[in-house]
């Protein structure tokens, strides 16, 4: 009975088309990035990237490289947007089509229903992120094969396949945490607004505004406190030397943002009258 709301939410989420459409879009992106990399690989001038004359023997692009590369193109805009659309509908969408009143007349505490929705949102954020990584590894393996992970970080660092795989796994674990904080933000918007598109749009808008503010020198002192400054925490795992302290700090900010947005969602969802 306690887990029934979670089962119900997962059933609803994983039986709707938009969920699977999201996975298809992610897969298509991975395919396009791999295809592009495949062509680019022939012309890749490593010497320009490291800023000096250099000779590289062997493959620079491998499955691990693709898994790393797709993070930069997918986790900045695409995946947060998909999360905003899917999670933004979890409450606002139900309010819009009337099912929220059907749901909340069941003998279940509202906060349990909200917890189920949050866990479902996190499950989507996690599954789409993990799917991104696994599909990149699989397609990268097919096209480029297995091998070292080459990192361009001012200089050039080559990690052996085992270490590279560990870095990719840790990077994706951090990406899951980042995307879960986006899901919590989207759920808060979903609790506040009656329209799922408004919830999704405002989630993306908040991320864009934070991103712009973070780029402006005038707001340099604010930047460390912005969610967007920590969403790319996974990129720390692809430096020559991992700054564990910076990772922990960013993880702390992500947790704080998640806690704050969840608390607001709890207050709104628990107290708000269902009038539509």
């Amino acid at each position: 009975m306690r887990l029934a709301p979670l089962r119900a939410e997962l059933t609803k989420l994983y039986r709707q088309r938009i969920t699977y459409a999201s996975f298809v879009v992610v897969l298509a992106l991975v395919g396009l990035v791999t295809w592009g990399s495949h062509h680019e690989a022939r012309h890749l001038d490593v010497s320009q990237r490291v800023g000096s004359e250099f000779v590289v023997a062997g493959r620079t692009i491998t499955a691990l490289f693709v898994a790393r590369a797709v993070m930069e193109v997918a986790l900045v805009v695409l995946v947060p947007m998909l999360i905003a659309v899917v999670v933004g509908a979890l409450i606002a969408g139900e309010r819009q089509n009337g099912t929220l009143r059907t749901l909340l007349t069941r003998p279940q505490p509202r906060l349990r229903v909200l917890a189920a929705k949050l866990l479902t949102g996190w499950s989507f954020a996690a599954s789409v992120t993990v799917f991104l990584g696994l599909s990149a590894l699989a397609i990268g393996q097919l096209v480029f094969g297995w091998g070292d992970l080459v990192i361009f970080d001012g200089g050039l660092t080559v990690l052996d396949p085992h270490t590279g795989l560990m870095r990719v796994a840790e990077g994706y674990a951090l990406a899951v945490a980042s995307m879960c904080s986006v899901a919590a933000l989207a759920l808060m918007m979903s609790a506040i607004f009656d329209n799922s598109m408004a919830a999704a749009g405002l989630t993306v808008a908040v991320l864009i505004v934070m991103g712009i503010v973070g780029q402006m020198p005038y707001f340099e002192h604010v930047k460390p406190y912005l969610l967007t400054a920590h969403l790319r925490v996974y990129s720390e795992m692809f430096a020559a030397t991992v700054d564990r302290a910076a990772v922990l700090t960013s993880a702390g900010y992500l947790a704080a943002y998640t806690a704050l947005t969840t608390a607001v969602a709890m207050i709104v969802f628990d107290r708000r009258d269902v009038t539509c």
Binding site: M1, A4, P5, R7, A8, T11, K12, R15, Q16, R17, N97, G98, T99, R101, T102, L103, L104, T105, R106, P107, Q108, P109, R271, D273, V274, T275
Partner: protein
């Protein structure tokens, strides 16, 4: 304590004051900003009754139902369902089933999946029970179809089904026959009557007065957020003074004669250029006819007016609105 009376001054059925009410509200109120959607609503629904909750649009019926089902928090007053305060309604589990306004379901899931999903939130439910309720509402054959493809009537029946799944003791239904064709309405009427016969208490709001008169054992009329009449359906219709129509030679003279009659006072009005309608408590058609004849009015036809729930409802709501307008006018003058 003084006996509670309805707007027409009739005492409320004493059975409604029994302690084992299925629903009881006292001073229940809900404000949205400056708007009073429900304003001190006192309602008692006896267990085992099929209770019609009537009122014009905007009278506060849906808000009351939302407060009873926990969707909306009252601003003031008390409400209890099956003896449990609404604030603790979760302890009732599946003892209450509800359909609030238009039934809404997950369009991408089948009727079976919707029922199964919603039932799981009320407690463990056997597959057989789902089959039973689908059969009761006549949706067995289309149970595997996506609800998105259902007609309005089918959704309405599925709405009743989801409310029935946990075998509730109390069923709260908001316009359950809305949008149904005549056959559908007849089916819902039969279903509700048979459920009532099985011991369920059914509280339903409706605008279909003829249906309510046929099926409901009790009714309450709500206007401007307050209950203005409640009691047993038959008793309320019998308790009100029956009207009589007289076809006369001079309706103006007839009204004068009736107005001048000895107390108890007679209410009379001209219906058309040949007809007046009159009613008075404790006076039957023969007595009213005698008064007219004694006053020199020629009466050529006497017809008793059957009191329907519709006429009772219209009169009650109209009185309540006039009374409220009068009160507002008085307060306006007092304030000036």
């Amino acid at each position: 304590m003084a006996a509670e009376t309805d707007v027409a001054g009739h005492p409320v059925d004493e059975a409604l004051e029994a302690d084992d009410a299925a629903i009881r509200t006292r001073g229940l109120s809900k404000r949205y900003g400056r708007v009073r959607a429900v304003d001190g609503l006192d309602l008692t629904v006896p267990r085992g009754s099929l209770f019609g909750f009537l009122g014009p649009n905007g009278a506060g019926k849906s808000t009351t139902i939302r407060m009873l089902t926990g969707l909306v928090r009252p601003t003031a007053g008390e409400a209890s369902v099956l003896g449990v305060p609404v604030a603790r309604r979760l302890t009732l589990g599946g003892r209450v089933g509800a359909l609030v306004e238009q039934p809404a379901f997950y369009a991408h899931l089948s009727a079976w999946q919707n029922l199964s999903l919603l039932a799981s939130l009320s407690g463990p439910t056997a597959r057989k029970r789902l089959e039973e309720v689908l059969a009761v509402v006549g949706l067995t054959a289309v149970a595997r179809r996506r609800v998105g493809t259902y007609s309005h009537g089918m959704r309405q029946r599925l709405g009743i089904a989801q409310a029935l799944v946990p075998r509730p003791e109390l069923l709260i239904l908001d316009e359950p026959a809305s949008g149904l064709d005549p056959e559908g309405m007849a089916e819902v009427r039969e279903l509700l009557t048979s459920l009532r016969d099985d011991g369920l208490t059914i509280f339903l709001s409706s605008h279909m007065l003829a249906e309510v008169e046929q099926t409901c054992t009790h009714v309450a009329v709500v206007a401007r957020g307050q209950v203005v009449a409640q009691g047993e359906t038959g008793g309320m219709l019998r308790g009100a003074a029956p009207g009589t129509r007289f076809v006369v030679d001079d309706p103006g003279r007839a009204l004068e004669v009736l107005a001048a009659a000895e107390p108890p006072a007679i209410e009379a009005e001209a219906v058309d250029e040949r007809t007046v309608e009159a009613r008075a408590k404790g006076r039957d058609a023969a007595e009213l006819n005698a008064i007219l004849v004694r006053g020199g009015v020629r009466v050529s036809e006497v017809t008793p007016v059957r009191r329907t729930l519709e006429s009772f409802y219209l009169e009650t709501v109209s009185n309540a609105v006039e009374e409220a307008a009068g009160t507002a006018g008085t307060s306006g003058r007092a304030g000036a």
